[in-house]
Symmetry: C2
Subunit: 142 residues, 2 copies
């Protein structure tokens, strides 16, 4: 199973903010869609970064009231790791485990084409492994 299969199932909608927006814009997107991460893009939908709830909380260390008007650029992880639609579940899982990340934007022809979360991956991983065990049990029983 590949990233393409997952996107076919879950859709390729990704919530984004533009690179020149502020943290309060990102907070609004996060809260209105009840999500944990937004992808930061330029006006041509090319990925510039990824911004998570955690990135914002980390930035609040200095107790600055200006957090709301800080540029997303100042908080985001710039040039994040990405994958293509051809990547397999195991490849994505290995990247997420190795780099301790939970989201991987999907790129197609240099443009944002989807977002894969660790939740998407473990759901399929458990399904696939359970199906395999079930098929093996059937084989033994039959």
């Amino acid at each position: 199973m590949s990233v393409k299969n997952i996107l076919n199932e879950k859709g390729n909608l990704v919530y984004t903010v533009l690179i020149d927006q502020k943290i309060n814009d990102a907070i609004e997107v996060l809260n209105s869609h009840n999500i944990g991460v937004v992808v930061v893009v330029d006006k041509d939908n090319r990925i510039k970064g990824i911004l998570s709830e955690r990135d914002i909380i980390r930035k609040m260390e200095d107790h600055s009231a200006s957090i709301y008007v800080a540029p997303v650029k100042s908080c985001m992880t710039a040039d994040p790791l990405t994958c293509t639609k051809d990547a397999t579940i195991d490849e994505v899982m290995n990247i997420m485990t190795k780099y301790k990340i939970r989201h991987l934007p999907v790129i197609e022809e240099n443009r944002l084409a989807g977002l894969i979360s660790i939740g998407d991956i473990v759901k399929r991983k458990i399904e696939i492994t359970e199906q395999e065990a079930s098929a093996l049990r059937d084989y033994i029983a039959g």
Copy 2:
């Protein structure tokens, strides 16, 4: 496999804040330990709530500069669902899926005794299912 087994492996350390502390205290605990959630307790280590990065971001909707000095009480999820050490992996997984939560504090004699994350659960779930498939393959081969 039960919650007790998981806690034996990962330890029972839980990062907490006291119920009368402020959001900036919680941010400090989250950031210094690079974690996403703290359990809110009273001075007798009884659970009063759970406070996640998401809870804080949701509270920032009104762009209030006073977020830092807001009481954790005003942000936390009060009286969260909990489990005991006897709960099985499948029971915990079902609760997390049903209520869409990622963390479950563990209670023993009314006191906080550990914290189970969805990451702890899926890691073991994948291991167990893969071991089962592997044992079935060996059985067929042998």
